[in-house]
Amino acid sequence: MTVNTAVPKMYGRCEDCGIYNMANLKKLGINMDKWDYMIALAGNPNTGKSTVFNALTGLRQHTGNWPGKTVTRAEGGFIYNRRGYKLVDLPGTYSLMATSLDEEVARNFVLFAKPDVTVIVVDSTRLERNLNLVLQILEITDRAVVCLNLMDEAKRKQIIVDERRLARDLGVPVIPTSARYNQGIPELLEAVHDVATGRVVCRPHRVKSISAKVDNIIKPLITQIKSAFPNLPNARWVALRLLDGDMSIMNAIRDDGLGELNHAPAFNLAVA
């Protein structure tokens, strides 16, 4: 991956103004053959991931007001600031400790496809519930942007979210948006660009109590996983999942995690 040399962020420049940013955005639909950065859209069900996806790619991925609308991953692209971005819309999931097929698609992608930036779309009216997933994703990757969506609904429900505070606590950029009305999309783009190019370095929050309790137990397992799969971005998380009895994750690793992602997952028919 090509990482730009860290340009110190300047303010008051033309680049920081929303109108300029949108002019710099070229929606590519599905016409993608090369890209500089791959961006994944993850988050709880029904938080507006597909809406953000459509706003950025100009595609019309189906959206609908019920959890579980998207069950397969969709891809699209855009060019921003002369860089090619591939954007992947994932099914919504309550956690990364997957149970159903659509959730597994999301988990495997974040875990194995190693997106350059994971945009975590959260429902700002249910922050606590959504943060549970955010924290799990931040355990796996340190290149993330939190998209604080549905701000219009939060306002209607008289909820105020202090996004600066949140950004400080999570250690990643937090951008308030109302994706359906295209509000905040330019700022989101800018943040994604910053993280992708390395202009902004994230220091994601890690749950400390996890490490204290279990590190001793899993240390040998981590070492073993690391030596078997040196490319795995977060061996510790995999070890935790294994310890938790989630053996399906091992199959995913065995297939390089991607085998499964490339085909439509045919599920095990050994019933009856």
């Binding site: 309550y94 956690s95 400790m97 149970t99 249910r126 922050l127 606590e128 519930r129 549970n132």
Partner: protein
């Protein structure tokens, strides 16, 4: 006030608030995991919101979301009414 007697979630009446005490050990594996992923943990506040016309499914307000369960699941969740 705090030392209420413990009942299971399926007995919570519509409109009542409760605090989760524990998830029964009889509930394990995937089913337990699903509860936990949805944020049902000791200490969580749950409000019974509505019941389906046939009365089998009940929707609860849990950490800001309304989520419905069947009664054979909610009998595993021990609560104390607030």
């Amino acid at each position: 006030m705090s030392e209420q007697k413990v009942i299971t979630l399926q007995h919570l009446k519509i409109g009542q608030h409760a605090r989760v005490v524990s998830i029964s050990q009889k509930c394990h594996g995937l089913e337990r995991r699903r509860f936990i992923d949805l944020g049902i943990l000791p200490g969580t506040i749950i409000v019974a919101e509505m019941r389906s016309p046939s009365g089998d499914l009940t929707a609860y307000l849990i950490r800001g979301s309304v989520i419905a369960f069947r009664s054979e699941q909610t009998r595993f969740i021990n609560i104390s009414i607030l």
